[in-house]
Subunit: 770 residues, 2 copies
């Protein structure tokens, strides 16, 4: 294993359900903004301070809406044919975050006066961010201030903020200013200003800002209203781009004053542009009438159900318990639930990767959600269906038949300015197909298959059957040239092993879907076959491609060569690479990286996990032994997969160490880049390390398989799995594992390759070493 | 052979020494501007009209100085590490071309009134461009106008223009306006305006414009002066960016009035910026005093000597005769002669490829000049020496030792925004080494080797010895991964056959140079070895790399596989590719091109020419048979090389057809892109087709080898070759070839593998079939 930096010291104290910052340090502000992000899959907001921050402190005060982007022309270093012409960048929207507190002539700031009893807390269970402190102003006035905010899990358009101020040693005027600012920019990537304010409107308590993007045609509405306790007059005013609301309280010692802000946001994607203003104003007002507590409770209720199904309880390791829960909350906060949006690489917590959706969703995040929130997974797959037409166009661009999903996109069109880091990765097609398979397997949702899934499977299969070639020099096998597998350090190779296996899987899956539809949904089958102009000959061709797929194997080494040329690359001892050169992608010229037998991330090893029933344990071990010393894990998507296979082959130290690199990557800021936003795929990987890794969960042959063990440092862990209408609770201890069927009549599972039949309400316990 | 378009109809009438345009057609103006370019290797000028042209006619009115460029930041589609950060673009300098003729209130233009007896003539022998016509103004005044211009071959800073006007049917005022305009732009690639005028100055007859580039730090001076016959007053005036000079003549029928313009141009590269103004003013004035004829004669004398040594006389094919001479003139016009500049891909005739120098110089153009202008070749190689330091930096960028020449550059630094079309082509190092070898072989100029050549050879060898790896999987052979050979449709391959052979050649050549220096220039050897910190161990390592170089051969096919993966690419019938998709590089996504067994340009076939004595005739034939049907010749560098090998293996039809595609590529505008500028490498290739192809010239073992034949359509051809202080005239006829030693005492040559000893002044004749 490449030596990785000692586990960094924890930034935040271990707490199973909380992330607590006990001191505000400006130099960490940028990082904290990502950690303290909130979101509900529709809207996300970085952990910026309500009162603002001086210009010399690093900050990206971003608020984002999933899938709302601006386009800009891509400029290339040199012309190349058939390249994507437009970037898509998720935009920073109207800034509704500001709440400023003044006492007499002094304005509250962490940068003047003195602060004590400071605590900023992200409550993981409740999804609420609070900041409490006692401030002594330069002139000696002391007051307690509590900020609290959440983005509602029960209504995607809604966010609530409040501020509670308690004078401690004085009486006097407390002024609270709330503003909404439409004059916003992106802080990364976009060259031009994206948003133009169309109109502002305000009454005394509330108002709205309506903006539109210059190129991409979105209109965005942001409405606010306010309430005070005790009730005092609020004075609203508007400029051409902003709103401000001022409330003046007469403060007395130990009397707490409340200022509540209700924010509603929508876009022309969901609401007619002409109705946006009234929609957001009405919603804000309606929710303000309901009051803070009712809205908060509705929000918490959604989260309670989420945790009920999704939580992993780890006993004996509060660091990992905290890490996992932080990840699970951030994943929910990042995930689009409407079938039109998806999960950006950095969720809704930053502008890096421009809010783009990748194969990360299907390969890392769907596996996380699938066994607890299957209905969410359906929505994520519906998104893929919604971009099938652009995927068809993308295939045409590459002179291919069928559909080729864009490597990074929001609207379905390829948005990458470097095809060797994007389009070359044809395997994204198989990732989508694989996820459809896993979804239908786990849910029996054949309606989805008939309505949407099969069409995706057919079009991706079609692409595979067109993209390769039967080569005499390979005994007539079907070869796929010039692709890149998951290992982005080897783009433009022939017969990437992962790709060929997954393409074969995709082809067989399409054929299987064809049979299912023909049998169970004959009318839909006919319609679809007509729509796609499919015929028996083409199905046969798919079968031939799959049957004859070239599947590389090196008998001498007993391993699956990553591609045709990998074994001929320059050997290199990756431990000899200076630490400051890692990640190589940021420091070495691509050609330098490509010439070496060096791997960025799990490639063959990922295959051994995804299609695990096609490989023996010995093969898994041999390949792990071969590839592990060649892998730098320069992608955060890598360690989780190595951890899973390490668990499977019994390399428990590797498994645990790789899990550690995954579970607290963002929380401990391993890569010093969390300020850019969280790493959603890696976060999902931490769930996989436990469930697929330590507990050995697989779904071979339509059944749940378990092969659990307990890492030495833990006393036990437990989790739940929904599968085919059932829900199992699994508790793993040192010697035994208990299975309880919470939902469903009976379910047959496999424990250590032995069948176990579960019945509702009963617990079955098996030895881990049986 | 891929069917290529029927030889296009000739655009200009066949004439052995002239290119004549008999009708001005606005729609062809852009193309004609390139064809009627003038230059002297230092300065070049497109064939723009003296009087200007309406805005709706396509035009690139460019004047360029070799090696004078502006830099600009490269913008990439996506970040990649260690990429070049700056473009270099040859700039369009101060426009000194304008001469406008008015008669009373009517200004001459080809776009009003009527024109007859029009002829624009590029005299290839004299390098003079004239335009004659009789113009009848809208009001009925008739006059003869003759424009004439040349860029002096005898003084690089000098250009002369004149205008002769003869009223034919009227008396009246003839006004001639000459201007110099410093407010100029590039028409391609540069995003910003490069040149800023620093000062203008003028007297009545003359003046100067001094400008500087914004980023790259060049100052450019342009001075003019004028003379009239009969002498009339000239009135000069200046704005902040331009000069204008007006002469008024009293014209009478059949009396010719002359207006002469003397232009001097220099830059801060040769002249101190403070002295630029006086330098260009003085030079223009001095030459004006000498008068038109004296300057013209000096210019013509240089060209006469050039033609004396360089011309190929082809009897029986005026089209090819004309094509060859057009090419030979344009090549001289394009070629820097000062050791600091080189030959841009489009010479000084256009802005495409940004005035960059490529391997074209060493591989295509040096072979052309070497046997007639060896002193010029030394200058071209001195340029390479002058950029050895940037080449060292370029190697560091790629984490390599030694030096790696930039693929496209002016100042020595890589200026490409796409490394897969540039840096990946390590073979440029070998091209430079090979040219040094050929130069020393042809001249015995060992001083050059000792002073400059050896250092280049050592540093390039060093790079090769660092770039590869001894691979056990290849029997311990030395393999070179992730490169691109000359075929740019296969970048990032392992063991490109051409590259490995040429790297081996480079390594052995460096060792040989080491031996020569050690023996003949021991002091310089010691200094150089110290400077480069070389030792015996390193020399031994070079030898080991060369001895063990992996040289691919496929015994089954009997061919040299272009690289490790070429034979496994998707087969394709290139004749099935629609014509409008050619060139593929402009129409297909790179990944689409790369997956196929399709070749852009001679690769293995070029190797068979360059290192011809390492391969048997059977091997050449087998490889031609294999690669020819896979080659689209999407690069103009390709057909000439196929023509040469076709000649060698006796495929005379192929040889002739490929020659045709080469010799008149620009003159007949085969690729419809000559408006962008000429194709210098292809032009040089046309010489190679005749000399290396039809006459079979090689220099094996330090001797000149001939194996001549006469293409069917020709009655004879002749050319001269300078070699090791001798000069041979070669006349090839149907049955025999005659060799006459013009210079030198004796020279042993090989005719059809038989030695022939030539003595001065005597002619030896041999049968072509002996």
């Amino acid at each position: 294993m490449r030596k990785f930096h000692q586990n960094r010291e924890a930034i935040y104290p271990f707490d199973e359900w909380k992330i607590v910052e006990t001191k505000f340090e400006p130099r960490f502000n940028h990082r904290s903004e990502s950690i303290f992000s909130l979101g509900n899959g529709y809207m996300g907001m970085r952990g910026t301070l309500e009162e603002g921050i001086p210009g010399d402190v690093q900050s990206t005060p971003g608020i984002y809406i999933n899938g709302i982007y601006e386009t800009e022309p891509i400029i290339y270093g040199e012309f190349m044919a058939c390249q994507p012409q437009e970037y898509q960048s998720m935009i920073n929207i109207t800034d509704w975050r500001s709440l400023r507190v003044s006492v007499e002539n002094e304005e509250f700031s962490l940068f003047q006066g003195t602060v004590r009893d400071y605590a900023r807390t992200l409550d993981l269970k409740q999804g609420v961010l609070t900041r409490k402190l006692i401030w002594t102003s330069p002139q000696g006035r002391q007051l307690r201030i509590v900020f609290e905010r959440f983005i509602s899990q029960s209504n995607q358009h809604l966010a609530l903020m409040r501020c509670a101020v308690t004078p401690l040693n004085f009486s006097g005027t407390i002024t609270i200013r709330s503003s909404v600012n439409g004059d916003v920019n992106n802080f990364h990537h976009l060259r031009d200003k994206a948003l133009q304010v169309l109109s502002t409107t305000c009454t005394n308590e509330g108002g709205a800002v309506i903006s539109e993007t210059k190129n991409s045609g979105f209109t965005i509405g942001c409405g606010v209203t306010h309430r005070t306790y005790p009730k005092v007059p609020i004075m609203g005013s508007a400029t051409t781009t902003s709103l401000e609301f001022i409330a003046k309280f007469q403060g007395k010692p130990d009397q707490t004053l409340f200022f509540h802000k209700f924010i509603a946001v929508s876009t022309s994607r969901e609401t007619h542009p002409q109705k946006l203003q009234s929609f957001v104003l009405d919603l804000a007002e309606e929710r303000a009438e309901q009051g803070w507590e009712k809205n908060k409770q509705a929000h918490i209720n959604v989260l309670a159900k989420y945790w009920e199904d999704t939580d992993i309880q780890i006993e004996g390791d509060p660091a990992l318990q905290q890490g996992f829960r932080f990840n699970a909350l951030q994943l929910l906060q990042s995930t689009g639930r409407d079938g039109k949006t998806n999960i950006a690489a950095k969720g809704l917590t930053g502008e890096y990767y421009e809010g783009h959706y990748f194969w990360d969703t299907e390969t890392y995040i769907i596996p996380f959600f699938l066994y607890s929130q299957p209905e969410l997974v359906r929505k994520l797959l519906e998104y893929r269906y919604s971009i099938l037409d652009p995927a068809r166009q993308n295939a045409r661009r590459m002179r291919n038949k069928g559909a080729l999903f864009a490597w990074r996109t929001i609207n379905g069109h390829e948005a990458s300015g470097n095809f060797l880091g994007s389009t070359v990765q044809y395997h994204i097609n198989a990732a989508v197909a694989y996820a459809i398979h896993k979804y239908v397997e786990a849910t029996d949702d054949f309606d989805f298959l008939a309505e949407k899934g099969a069409e995706i499977l057919f079009e991706t299969a079609r692409c595979w059957a067109d993209r390769g070639v039967f080569l005499e020099s390979r005994g007539g096998r079907y070869c796929i040239n010039e692709v890149c597998g998951p290992d982005e350090y080897k783009p433009g190779v022939n017969n990437n092993c992962y790709t060929n296996y997954m393409a074969q899987f995709n082809l067989y899956l399409a054929l299987k879907a064809g049979h299912i539809l023909k049998e169970r949904f004959p009318e839909q089958y006919k319609l679809l076959v007509d729509k796609l102009d499919l015929n028996e000959e083409e199905f046969k061709q798919w079968e031939k491609c799959a049957d004859l797929m070239y599947l590389p194997f090196d008998p001498e080494l007993g391993i699956f060569p990553q591609d045709d040329s990998f074994l001929d690359k320059d050997p290199i001892d990756i431990d000899s690479i200076p630490y400051e050169d890692i990640p190589l992608v940021a420091n070495w010229h691509p050609l330098v990286i490509w010439r070496y037998q060096v791997i960025k991330q799990a490639d063959v090893i990922l295959l051994l996990f995804l299609l695990g029933d096609q490989f023996t344990l010995e093969e898994k071990k041999a390949n792990f032994d071969f590839y592990e010393p060649r892998t730098t894990h320069d992608s955060s998507l890598s360690p989780a997969i190595y951890s899973i296979i390490a668990s499977e082959v019994g390399y428990y130290d590797y498994a645990y160490n790789y899990f550690m690199q995954t579970a607290r990557l963002d929380l401990d800021d391993y890569n010093k880049n969390v300020w850019q936003g969280i790493h959603t795929a890696c976060m999902a990987g931490s769930w996989m390390c436990v469930v697929n890794g330590f507990a050995g969960v697989r779904t071979y042959g339509g059944k749940l398989w378990f092969k659990p063990y307990l890492p030495d440092k833990w006393s036990r862990y437990s989790f739940k799995i929904k599968f085919r209408g059932c829900q199992v609770k699994v508790v793993v201890e040192k010697e035994t594992t208990s299975y309880t069927l919470l939902v469903g009549d009976t379910l047959e599972i496999m424990h250590n390759e032995q069948p176990v039949t579960l019945t509702q309400g009963h617990t079955q316990t098996r030895g881990n070493h049986e």
